[in-house]
């Protein structure tokens, strides 16, 4: 299991699927691989990122390795009836085509065992509300890179409130032009300065 842990931390994608398959073949429990090796490994990656030892490239290669490992593990997890840490809907708001912030959040949440419904970019208020109704997530995450598009977040929060959905879902927002004040002003529950703080918040409200 140590090898798998190191592969995730070092972002070694080549051979990671085989490594997971080998562990399963040897009788390791899928839930144990996920919860005792893979998620803690991604947590270490997150810590390194927050400490400034890792940057985006290192985070991305680790997240990719994690995703490929998860692909092998998922059927076994489903088979064993192991549920994820929670469910999140994520998207970049209307008018904004930048996806890097949203993708990082999605990868971080998946790395923490969440099921992620990724709505993509340029997502309308109606699409966010519709996805909440359909998927019943614990969280909805909105991203905006532009100071001009962040205003669309306010419309989404208002629409979620109006539809009576806010009681069942936490709303988190993030992106370069945002800050905590703005998140509070529009009625969001959390502002994430980076994807790791977003992941930590998701955990804190999904336990």
């Amino acid at each position: 299991m140590e090898k798998l842990r190191e592969m995730i931390i070092n972002g070694t994608n080549k051979g990671i699927a085989d490594e997971v398959a080998k562990l399963l073949d040897q009788g390791s429990d899928a839930g144990s691989i996920l919860n005792n090796v893979m998620i803690p490994a991604m947590d270490e990656v997150g810590d390194l990122f927050q400490k400034g030892d890792y940057f985006l490239p290192e985070l991305l290669v680790s997240a990719r390795a994690m995703q490929n490992a998860l692909e092998v593990l998922k059927p076994r997890l489903v088979q064993q009836g192991i549920k994820g840490a929670g469910k999140a809907v994520v998207g970049t708001v209307k008018g904004d085509l930048h996806d890097i912030g949203k993708n990082l959040l999605a990868m971080s949440l998946e790395g923490a065992g969440f099921e992620v419904i990724d709505l993509g970019t340029d997502v309308s208020t109606e699409q966010f509300v519709g996805a909440i109704k359909e998927h019943k997530p614990n969280l909805v995450g909105m991203s905006a890179l532009l100071s001009t598009t962040m205003y669309a977040m306010k419309d989404v929060v208002e629409a979620i409130d109006k539809a009576g959905l806010h009681a069942g879902v936490k709303i988190m927002v993030g992106g370069a032009p945002l800050n905590d004040d703005y998140a509070k002003k529009i009625g969001a529950d959390f502002y994430g300065a980076d994807c790791i703080s977003g992941r930590d918040y998701a955990r804190s409200v999904s336990g």
Binding site: G11, N13, F55, L56, P57, E58, L60, V61, R64, V93, K94, G95, D96, L97, H98, I100, N103, L146, S147, T148, T149, Y151, A152, P177, N179
Partner: protein
């Protein structure tokens, strides 16, 4: 209405402030020549804002050289700032190399962004060709724009990304970042192609417009430390960027405006090894202090910065005025000179009064 009719409607406009003896173009030239300039120049980095201010959609600043030039010139006259009209955007390169760029059309979309990258796999790098700079993407429009700059006697510029941002615009930030770690040869190849293209474009401008009043602008947001480490910057970005600047200066260009965008504090010692001209202009974001910019570039470059765009777009008039004054006071210590500049593009929907207050701070 023709450009001439719009900008010269019978009586010369004085703008919101009394006319000054020096024109904006003259003031910037004097600053670069180390001469007395009277007051600190102001570069507002306002593209979409200029368009909206004269009743054009934001898209016109990118799609229509005549309207773009007109809007910026009218805005410059109205507010009396010093940045001559320019044409450019940070997502440059995707379209020029055969990908797709979304130009702003909707109510909320205010800047071009890449939607389909020309490089999607390692295989694509092998077949990636340098585009013809006279024909590729938006470059014909940029050439047309520079002809207007020349005809109207304003500074001539071409706006291009730094090598890393152009690399990102060719293959996406995710892919290039992952190649830095796992496929360094691919990353190097992309950055080398990016540098060669930038040089091709600058060479074309030198051939067409000479070097006397031409200043290329290189914008580098993607190499920020919010994305890559100083280690990766040193290994991948610095060699290409440094060589590129050396080659540009070897063409006879005397000043490069380099916009070191965003959080680049850990890169500053590395950027300081990149020649910018004599002097160059180094423009910084609000994440970098003016004090640090002077420390690393002040002996060789004019420092430009660093009003936060969030503040300009959403702050109170008094906050904006006070911050602008504080920037000017810090900037006065720059030995080669200082330009008050926004940290990045002024948000298109900035309240005009906020914009006015920056200009007021400059004149007070």
């Amino acid at each position: 209405m023709t450009l001439n009719e719009r900008v010269n409607p019978g009586t010369e406009k004085q703008g919101l402030f009394p006319a000054e003896e020096m024109t904006s173009t003259q003031r910037v030239a004097a600053l670069l020549a180390g001469k007395e300039i009277g007051r600190v120049p102001f570069f507002p980095f306002s593209l979409g804002f200029s368009a909206l201010n004269v009743g054009y959609p934001v898209a016109t600043v990118y799609s229509d050289p005549g309207k773009s030039y007109t809007a910026q010139l009218l805005n410059q006259r109205m507010y009396g700032y010093d940045q001559d009209p320019f044409l450019g955007y940070a997502a440059y390169g995707t379209y020029e190399f055969g990908g797709d760029t979304n130009f702003p059309t909707g109510a909320n979309i205010h800047a071009p962004s890449s939607v389909r990258f020309p490089v999607t796999s390692e295989k694509d790098i092998e077949s990636l060709q340098l585009p013809d700079p006279e024909k590729a993407g938006m470059l014909p429009r940029a050439l047309e724009f520079s002809k207007l700059q020349q005809q109207n006697g304003t500074g001539i510029s071409v706006v291009l990304p730094g090598v890393f941002t152009l690399g990102v615009n060719l293959c996406s930030v995710e892919k290039l970042c992952m190649w830095l770690v796992n496929e360094p040869d691919f990353a190097d190849k992309v950055l080398s192609i990016a540098a060669n293209h930038i040089l091709d474009v600058v060479s074309l401008w030198v051939d067409n417009f000479g070097v006397e009043v031409f200043m290329p602008q290189l914008w580098e947001p993607a190499a920020a430390n919010s994305i890559i480490s100083p280690r990766h910057f040193e290994r991948f970005v610095l060699p290409h960027q440094k060589k590129l600047h050396e080659r540009i200066l070897a063409l006879g260009v005397t000043h490069i405006l380099c916009h070191i965008c965003g959080e680049q504090n850990k890169n500053l010692p590395l950027w300081s090894q990149v020649p910018m001209g004599n002097p160059g202009i180094v423009s910084i974001g609000n994440q970098v202090s003016i004090v640090d910019a002077i420390k690393y570039f002040g002996d060789k470059c004019v420092i430009a910065g660093n009003l936060a765009t969030e503040l300009v777009g959403q702050g109170t008039a008094q906050e904006i005025y006070d911050t602008a004054r504080a920037c000017i006071e810090e900037g006065r210590k720059a030995p080669r000179g200082f330009i008050l500049m926004t940290a990045c593009e002024t948000p298109p929907l900035t309240p005009p009064y906020n914009f006015y207050m920056i200009n007021k701070a400059v004149r007070d």
